[in-house]
């Protein structure tokens, strides 16, 4: 209890409060701008936090994460261009509502659902993080290895075009993490005689390159894209009738979003799409979906914000990122000298409560900002791309450089960006690669330690029920979707043939 008050007290410090406000403001702006994403913003903001104390730094980044997830809904509703991937599902019904003159009602519903989902997940975060951390204290290297493999296998089902591509990108990320000196033997691996590589490839330049520069090159191909804008907006809170209509949708999506967020690697985008589908499935007015159903906004918005809180649980309790953005927050934790995982909760519990407090305040702040300033934030898209993206590159360049005052890191950032652009073209997302890069060290170290413990006898992995459980979950995660997909197709074909035969 003392730790909780200490943590919350730290967040209420005026300077920290101001930083949270900055995080929320930047988050909503970035979320609202098509092309700019939360992971990119958190990666670009990392260098600014170097001089800050760890708690305000992580609090600001967490606030940005919450607000960024919500910000995407503004442009999704007003210009049919989701500012961020988690808001894609919001556009399905948000834009039709805006077109028929109900933009204010749609934005109000998006704000209320987002806050409801966010607060629900933070309550779960408060309860689940200490419990999960306590359970993880008993984990030995084999359990950690199985957990990390499970997290990597979850890449198969994160949003993206294909499971196989996500897995390849994840494995490539792990492979990149092996660059540098091998800890057990001191042997240089993949350094090609370059001294800067002996230390390994730093996370920050790769993150900035993949998320920011890759997208910049993508944007250079779409300079003439224009958006149809809804301008007459008076944002209003949902009416009693609206609220009664969506209350169960919000609750269902909040639970679903939090659960998806807690799963390693799964993030807000998956949660939002599932939230939308579930809202439609349970709705009495399915035919309204796609034409401006209010539940079609409440479902994805509650789910994507709930996933943001949920994703912090494995990140802080296990050191396993719950989403692309929390992967970047995990890097920030490491940069500020923290060791994410069960020991974080054990040794610095006030830190966890401070993050909880920061995210709770962020939810309140973006609710007020979202309602009061939606009209202004919608105008942010008027910033010329010809100035916005050069600014992003300047921040990328300086961000990559300032991490360790090394020009080599700027080159790493640039190469990562160009590779990221080419990968994106062929359906390989940047998030799986980042996940692999971050989890790489844990995977290799825990595997090596396990093999030493087991005297190279693989079968001893199966002596631990936790390891077996994670391996079973891994297999289910990898094969459930393709197997059911193929069976479904075969079933549909045989049904069609039978009907044809009739």
């Amino acid at each position: 209890m003392e730790a909780m008050f200490q943590g919350l007290g730290l967040i209420l410090d005026p300077f920290n409060f101001f930083l949270i406000f900055c995080g929320v403001l930047i988050g909503v702006i970035v979320g609202a701008l098509p092309g700019l994403s939360s992971p990119m913003a958190v990666a670009l903001l990392l260098p600014f936090t170097i001089g800050l104390d760890p708690i305000p730094a992580i609090a600001m980044l967490s606030a940005l994460y919450c607000a960024g997830t919500f910000g995407g809904s503004i442009t999704a509703i007003l210009i049919n261009a989701p500012g961020a991937p988690p808001a894609v599902a919001t556009a399905f019904d948000g834009y039709p509502m805006a077109k028929r003159g109900e933009a204010g009602r749609a934005l109000g519903m998006a704000a209320v659902s987002s806050v409801a989902g966010g607060i629900f997940s933070l309550i779960v975060f408060l309860v689940a993080t200490p419990l999960l951390a306590k359970a993880a204290l008993t984990f030995r290297p084999p359990e950690y290895f199985a957990l990390a493999v499970f997290a990597l296998s979850m890449l198969a089902s994160i949003s993206g075009k294909s499971a196989v591509r996500n897995l390849i990108a994840g494995a490539a990320g792990v492979l990149i993490s092996t660059v540098g000196i091998h800890l057990t033997t001191g042997v240089e691996r993949f350094t090609f005689g370059i001294i800067d590589l002996t230390d390994g490839i730093h996370f920050v330049p790769v993150l900035i390159g993949l998320f920011a520069v890759g997208e910049l090159l993508n944007q250079s191909q779409a300079l003439n894209v224009a958006y149809e804008r809804i301008t007459s907006i008076v944002v209003r809170l949902p009416s009693r009738a609206d609220f009664l209509k969506v209350r169960w949708t919000i609750l269902r999506s909040s639970i679903l979003g939090t659960f998806i967020g807690i799963l390693p690697a799964e993030g807000s985008t998956v949660a939002a799409i599932m939230g939308y589908n579930e809202a439609k499935r349970w709705s009495k007015n399915k035919e309204e979906f796609g034409h401006g159903a209010i539940e079609g906004i409440a479902g994805p918005e509650a789910a994507n914000n709930a996933a943001a809180g949920g994703a912090m649980v494995p990140t802080l309790a296990l050191g396993i990122p719950g989403s692309g953005t929390t992967a970047v927050i995990l890097v920030a934790l490491i940069m500020h000298g923290f060791r994410p995982g069960p020991y974080l909760m054990n040794q610095t519990p006030h830190f966890i409560y401070a993050i909880f407090g920061a995210m709770m305040i962020a939810n309140m702040m973006f609710f007020v900002l979202g309602l009061a300033g939606a009209k202004v934030f919608a105008r942010i898209t008027l910033i010329p791309r010809t100035l916005l993206w050069p600014s992003v590159f300047v921040f990328s360049m300086i961000g990559a450089y300032s991490f360790s005052s090394s020009l080599f890191d700027v080159w790493v950032m640039l190469v990562s960006g160009i590779v990221g652009f080419l990968m994106l073209r062929h359906g390989f997302g940047p998030a799986p690669l980042v996940m692999g890069l971050i989890l790489g060290q844990l995977v290799e170290e825990s595997l090596s330690q396990s093999m030493i413990m087991f005297d190279n006898n693989w079968f001893q992995f199966f002596d631990s029920p936790i390891v077996v459980m994670f391996f079973v979950l891994t297999l289910l995660g990898l094969f459930w979707s393709p197997v059911t997909g193929v069976l479904g197709k075969l079933f549909a074909r045989s049904n069609a043939r039978l009907k044809g035969g009739d």
């Binding site: 492979l175 250079s220 050069p390 300047v394 300086i398 005052s405 020009l407 073209r425 030493i452």
Partner: protein
Amino acid sequence: MNQDPNDTGVSEGRKETSVSSLIHWTDFRVTVIILAISGVLYTVTTGFEEVAAMLAQNIPPEWFPQLLIWVIVLLSLVLPFEHLFLEKGAAEIDKDRSEKVKPMAMITAALLILAVTSILLFGTALAMVVVCIALPLLWGERRAKVLVPYFILFPLAVTLLFTQVLKVYFEPGAFGPAIQ
């Protein structure tokens, strides 16, 4: 030219069963590239310094990277056939690559490389100015009243923020001191 409706059915039937239609040729080329890179990296791993078994504790330094390369190779072999298992088929994965990379993207990439190279010559601060002039111009910005304040004020603000507030050391570049 009249078309026999039966012909269409036959050709579609052939199409369905032909081996060629089972393979997605763009992904096949992607697989070949991944295999080539994997081959090179695997060869590199065989050149890692050898260490005594006792020091390596039965886990030689090349073992884990080689394991990963095998995983990547096996997964990449699925790629040319993956479209058969996708709900929307090849359409979904081909959406972003249906058109060739636009020259603007390539010119932008070249400009970014030049900008980073210019840090060595002109230093970090001037490289930022280069980016803030060249990139908007390349992307079609011609309004002087927008561009001039932007390339002066923005790099100046960023330089002050990083050097004075965040105490980040900026590269002076080869000609930097002379320019200053």
